[in-house]
Subunit: 536 residues, 2 copies
């Protein structure tokens, strides 16, 4: 199968989306997941533009990525500078990545109105920037910004910009539909014209979705000879977003017969989509092609029975191919095989007739229907699994907590107090603490209560904390009475873990996540100790 | 301009979506709105399948639709019945619509496995059903279900089914990509084959979005000669949804130069999209092409200044053409020019030397440094702007609130109580309420306190609520002691608005967002009243 290089720009162009803000830590987690999925390139950010991206490139060096190469992104040098005196190009080199990508202008109005220079000078800038970077990069890509709009306005100039980049040593010329306004058949013709003009060049495609055509445009680019496709997970990105890799990859692999990911990785697509949505703290889009929760959901009646007889009747592909699943609405579906699959990951070889498997299935279904979501909270899942299988002991029993949160506007005095009562073995412990907000007060009171029994909990700290309101079809439950899901990330000197809580009440949901987090710390330390002891 | 007939099936195929349930009343409201927009046909439902749809067809007769014709939908008759004894066809006639649409099978596996009859009998069924309906319908359409999958499996049979429908009097043959798996270039070829086989037939196209290609497929259908396009508002529909008319219509009108709506109606597109989302009780999809809230949103920096100089640089069309608007996100409100630009949006022509502009700048900078983020909370921004400029009155003064949140694990008893004290003019009000969680309790207590003074706050409801932890470089502030930002979306019968709150304490941040939300409702109502009074 002819290979297509997938260049993921979720961490750079994706974060241009209005509602996405990722920390360096978030970015590292996403990068690790993308590497697992097996994309060829991960564009990590624009090191010249902000400290988060700069830190990302420093920290990612500590990770041993298996498949993906990390790329840093930047612009051609400032018209008033020389390449070697340009801070943006310097920041690119300082990122110390194998791959460098710079974008340059191909459209007259952008050269004169955005860059404010002449058409000739712009070609010099492209040539100079690429030539300066060339010796420092294993691979060097040129993003031809607004290529298609530029071509429509002045094909000769747009092609001249490409030819300049090609001559200056760019390993791929990436044709960008930056404004997302190009139609597939027009785009196809223009890619053909580029191929004719630059027969030796490797071509890439970078569409945006402003006309609802980004996926179609990416596919049309490939049909006309592009072998490098840029896009983002879930189509995140500025305005209407970038081309959605979660639709492009399966279309290319399953329908074009092109290889995008290492053998066997396609089933990681749906879990990756969910994971990235969780990290970005955005509700997954249920109607999303291939990976959405509704993508293979069949409402009762004719469809369901036809699908039961022959899935082909109402499904264009087998959902398992992309790690998704068929959902028959209004009837409960056994996810037994998923559970067995997951248990194996944690070292449990379970038989499907094992009575514990049934209990696990029932428990998970019940919790999922309440809104627990374990894809980004594996610690809670591992704990649940071990509890049901009787492998996790109980470290403490909560008896009671109480929060008093008091705001006196006239004195501008906000106080929060938590009291917590727990039982450890036969011993009852009752503590209180103030805090900066109810969850912090609860966290402090709980740790205070436990410290005497389990001193090692002082090794752990809470790193991040996310709250999401779950939508509900029930009108009565919208707004402030909705269910909320809390994700809580903790870490100690050895590892990081994430736990989940769900409730109508944000404090109760936070308590659940805190409780799981502390329990996980104690559980995993014990497990490590046992493993070391067994090893000898 | 060559005309394309838009056939809207939001009320029929759209309601197959997992999360959409419309009452008859909802359907009537949507139909009236679609007529205002000016689509050619409104498919109201499947009268043979449920009482809601039956009632819809009865009630819609009382409305004087100006542009749209109402269509009723059903299947070909049961293989075991004759047309005149088929309850489904009878129900279609009982709908008493000008337009009737029936779907029939074109794909072998569907004939044998879903319909459970022979290929020959299926052709008889198509011919018999259409011939029976023909005298009763002003216009009669044939939906060729699974046409493209059928054609791929057996082109002769798929074409025979179409030819049968054509001969039996169908006014249009609608080629359906029912499973949504067809690629645009394959679809184009098949439409060409149909045109060659049935040169006299009017062709329609009905794509689904399972491959993320429904919009592209609809456009390709039109390019190859289809003049009738079926889809739904916002792309609602089963699984990944139907073809999204909110992208298809502007693509056809603005880029293909085809006319879909009566002159001057295209600017109703974005309001229609929002209206339908509201009636369906679904959060609008902000990245939706053309009509989404983010579709023309620009994040600070390079893009904003380029767009201000020439909108073409980062916009494929003028947003006003589809009734949308450009939004300059307030994430980097670094400078005066952004503030002046934004103020102009709200009707204030400010001079940069105006002392209030300096105050506004100082206030916004200070609030942004605390973590307030106005890009997604324009109502808070508008309120702030009007307050600084002395145009918003104070509706109430908060004096005090208190939250008591109490979890007794042994009795599994979780209670939350809020007390609130506010001043309205000279009057002090002290109320209390329980709630599902602290924010809900606070919301209820606050509304209770205000209801007597401002009865119209009962018109508004809280629609969504988001909490985000703000990262901080300061390690002491990570985890549960971080700042949190709350975004609160509210709405009434006329509009939706979003407000923001920031604090260490999630309850305090929620209070701020709630307070702004209620103030905004009162402020905007007063402003509307004033505008109306001035007009007339």
């Amino acid at each position: 199968m002819d290979r297509i290089d997938i260049y993921d720009t979720t961490l750079r162009d994706g974060t241009q989306a209005e509602d996405i803000n990722l920390t360096t830590e978030d970015k590292i987690r996403v990068a690790a997941k993308l590497d697992e999925l097996g994309v060829a390139y991960i564009e990590g950010g624009w090191p010249g533009s902000n400290p988060t991206d700069k830190r990302f490139f420093k920290e990612i060096r500590n990770y041993d990525l298996k498949t993906a190469k990390v790329a840093a992104f930047g612009s051609t040098h400032n018209p008033k500078a020389t390449p070697d005196a340009d801070p943006n190009l310097k920041a690119l080199l300082a990122a110390e990545t194998e791959v460098l990508t710079i974008f340059g202008k191909c459209w007259g109005i952008h050269v004169t109105e955005a860059l404010r220079t002449t058409l000739e000078r712009n070609l010099e800038i492209i040539a100079g920037s690429l030539a300066y970077l060339r010796p420092h990069a294993r691979e060097l890509f040129f993003d031809a910004e607004h290529f298609f709009d530029g071509f429509k306005a002045d094909p000769d100039y747009a092609l001249a910009a490409l030819a300049t980049a090609h001559k200056a040593g760019a390993d791929a010329l990436v044709l960008c539909d930056t404004n997302g306004g190009t139609l597939p058949h027009d785009l196809g013709e223009m890619v053909r014209a580029v191929r004719a003009a630059l027969p030796g060049a490797v071509l890439g495609i970078h569409p945006h979705n402003d006309s609802g055509l980004a996926v179609a445009n990416a596919l049309e680019g490939v049909r006309q000879g592009a072998t490098h496709v840029q896009g983002t997970v879930n189509g995140y990105g500025e305005r209407c977003g970038n081309a959605n890799l979660c639709a492009i990859i399966p279309n290319l692999e399953l329908k074009f017969g092109r290889s995008c990911l290492p053998e066997g990785r396609l089933p990681l697509l749906a879990p990756t989509a969910t994971f990235v949505a969780e990290v970005a703290n955005l509700a997954p889009f249920s109607r999303q092609p291939y990976v959405g929760d509704s993508a293979f959901a069949h409402k009762g009646g004719v469809h369901v029975s036809a699908v039961a007889r022959n899935p082909l009747t109402y499904e264009h592909i087998d959902p398992a191919l992309v790690g998704n699943r068929r959902r028959v609405l209004l009837s409960d579906l056994s996810g037994q095989s998923n559970i067995l699959f997951k248990a194996r990951e944690y070292g449990f070889e379970l038989d499907k007739n094992d009575p514990f498997v049934l209990e696990l299935l029932t428990t998970i279904k019940e919790r999922e229907s309440k809104g627990y979501e374990y894809s980004a909270a594996e610690a809670s899942y591992e704990l649940l699994l071990n509890r049901v299988l009787g492998r996790a002991r109980s470290y403490f029993t909560p008896i009671h907590y109480r929060i008093l949160d008091d705001q006196a506007f006239t004195r501008d005095e906000l106080t929060t107090e938590a009291t917590v009562m727990i039982k450890v073995g036969g011993s009852l412990k009752h503590t209180a603490s103030t805090g900066r907000g109810p969850v912090n007060a609860l966290d402090r009171a709980l740790r205070k209560a436990l410290r005497g029994f389990y001193p090692r909990i002082s090794e752990m700290r809470l790193l991040d904390f996310k709250v999401r309101v779950l939508t509900s079809a029930n009108r009565e439950e919208s707004g402030t009475a909705s269910y909320v899901r809390v994700l809580c990330q903790s870490g100690d000197q050895n590892r990081r873990w994430t736990t989940v809580g769900v409730s109508h009440n944000v404090i109760e949901a936070s308590w659940q996540a805190l409780e799981d987090s502390i329990n996980y710390k104690l559980f995993i330390d014990d497990k490590d100790k046992l493993t070391r002891a067994l090893r000898g």
